[in-house]
Point group: C2
Chain length 148, copies 2
DNA sequence: CTGCTACATTTGTATATACAATTGTTGTAA
DNA sequence: TTACAACAATTGTATATACAAATGTAGCAG
């Protein structure tokens, strides 16, 4: 992706600004591709993220603040995000018996199955996005990203 | 920024997935910081982007499709984005005399002035975001981003 | 036990965004 | 010249998101 061409500018962009813009452009690409991959499942990136967090819990229920803490892109209203996953039948939610302020959220069987399907598509998408990267490219990129 | 720590996972994340997640996390940081910088001006990143595009036009008016084409993060409703800039007095909009389907959007004096103020804050924010990067780091990062 | 503060989630509401349908304009083929 | 397709922007509407206020619960000082 050529930055100047994409944003149609002829003037030279200072390196620091160009870097920021470049990051944004790539991120848009990433988000678009993942959204396309998840579209058949009628699910957003954040919803997918929550499903994966729940799987990582290995049956141990999660409450809302835990989810919010672990989400890649945090959002201001996790309640309603979980509402949507519930209405799809992917998770269930009960109030925590030991502390009735909290809730316990779990993956359902249906959620687990769907997530397994999504995994395949997502793996393909990740691979496609990164197909020009060698392992050492990726390591280098991760090192550079650490500087942010 | 340590990925595993941030998303609170103990399991090892495959390198390709980690790379994608890392990109997203850094992008969130970038967006948050820029949003904070622009908050005093009561303007969004995309609105700021449009103002800069208009300045790049050097007085030559832009129409909506031009703006949309050049925006870093394109959106589905540039009309209403421009509405907001108009209501702030930063731009004006007339229908194009030579082709009445199009519009001509221009920066106002007020918009130009405000943009100049925003430049300062934005330069600081960019510098702060990239303060751990040497020039060669940035060049390297840009090269790697080209692979997406 | 009472009153108070902190906690965890939910709800209300205003704003933002996506997507499709609509409006008005232009160019052009018959 | 008329009819029609393509174009450019706008509008309607459903959904998403942010932010603040409200609800209900727990813990704790006195």
């Amino acid at each position: 992706m050529n930055v100047e061409e994409r944003i149609k500018t002829k003037e030279q962009i200072p390196l620091d600004r160009r870097t920021i813009i470049h990051m944004m452009l790539v991120n848009n690409t990433i988000n678009e591709q993942i959204a396309i991959a998840l579209k058949p499942f009628d699910i957003s990136i954040q919803q997918f993220n929550v499903l994966r967090i729940l799987r990582g819990q290995k049956g141990k229920p999660a409450n809302l603040s835990t989810l919010n803490e672990r989400m890649v892109t945090r959002m201001s209203n996790t309640t309603r995000l979980v509402d949507k996953l519930m209405s799809k039948g992917y998770v269930d939610r009960i109030t925590c018996p030991s502390n009735r302020r909290k809730v316990e959220i779990n993956l359902t069987k249906k959620g687990t199955d769907k997530l397994l399907e999504m995994d395949k598509t997502m793996a393909q998408t990740e691979a496609a996005l990164l197909n020009q990267f060698s392992d050492s490219d990726m390591k280098q990129l991760n090192l550079l990203l650490n500087k942010f």
